[in-house]
């Protein structure tokens, strides 16, 4: 799978459940600088809705893409400020 953005770092939350994917994504985004992209790899099917909802209500992030591949859900989040 190819993406049109450069991934700065990857967060692996496979096997973890709510609220960990969102909470750990937030913590990791805090370490990024503007424009950097975090790849989040999860197996929690709720993470599709949760990370989408979180990113939509959070001012300093933009959800670029969500990819579902079998039991693995990959999210791409850019820090915007």
């Amino acid at each position: 799978m190819s993406t049109e953005y450069d991934i700065t770092t990857t967060l692996d939350v496979k096997g973890e459940n709510c609220p960990m994917p969102v909470v750990k994504t937030r913590q990791r985004v805090d370490d990024l600088t503007e424009g950097e992209v975090l790849e989040v790899v999860a197996t929690d099917s709720g993470s599709l809705s949760d990370i989408d909802g979180w990113a939509g209500s959070t001012p300093d992030v933009e959800l670029l893409d969500q990819v579902e591949d079998g039991d693995v859900y990959t999210h791409y989040v850019r820090k915007t400020e």
Binding site: E16, N17, C18, P19, V22, V23, T25, R26, Q27, T58
Partner: protein, 188 residues
């Protein structure tokens, strides 16, 4: 005809100008209020293993949203902040219609411990965070976990019995002040 004098127009313009200025100031105040981050207050009253989860999951997630979050722990909710008890919260087998054991059997000695062990095993297998992990995460991400002073005294808990980082010496008025300003208030 007489009201259309230049002097009258100037007075009207000045009045309008003042009204516009007043409205602009009030709009700026409203916008400034909107910019303030969301606030959530949760009152956590339960200390059973199942009921300890919802407040901590919501609190840590709200912190990820950048919200200002207070969880006020009172009565058995205080056990969730107790250094020793927090790791050993129990699930009640009696009066729990979701469990397949009849109440007459569930009331037997050791059944609560058995039910708690089973839930802990499921939590572990499912990759669900432990209560201790959620407390650590909440404190790390800026959630204020408050311990009701009245309950502390009622249950004979000392400040040193509580997990580090918990806010003590607070009462109902402190909780109400935060609630009055909060966008979301929950009693669990």
């Amino acid at each position: 005809m007489s009201t259309d004098t230049p002097a009258g127009e100037a007075a009207d313009a000045a009045t309008l100008q003042a009204q516009i200025q007043d409205l602009e100031e009030r709009l700026a105040d409203v916008e400034a209020e909107d910019d303030e981050s969301m606030k959530m207050t949760i009152v956590a009253t339960k200390g059973s293993l199942d009921m300890a989860y919802p407040p901590l999951i919501l609190a840590s997630t709200a912190a990820a949203y950048g919200w200002d979050v207070v969880v006020f722990h009172t009565f058995w909710g205080l056990d969730v902040l107790h250094e020793e008890k927090a790791d050993n919260l129990k699930l009640s087998a009696v009066g729990n219609p979701n469990m397949s054991v009849p109440n007459a059997l569930a009331a037997l000695p050791g059944m609560d411990a058995l039910a708690s062990r089973m839930l802990r095993k499921k939590i572990d297998e499912n990759g669900t965070a432990t209560i201790q992990e959620l407390i650590d995460l909440s404190l790390e991400t800026g959630v204020e976990l408050q311990a009701c002073q009245m309950t502390m005294e009622l249950l004979d808990y000392e400040e040193s019995d509580l997990i580090d980082g918990v806010t003590t010496d607070v009462g109902a008025a402190t909780a109400l002040n935060h609630m009055a300003d909060a966008d979301i208030q929950l009693l669990v």
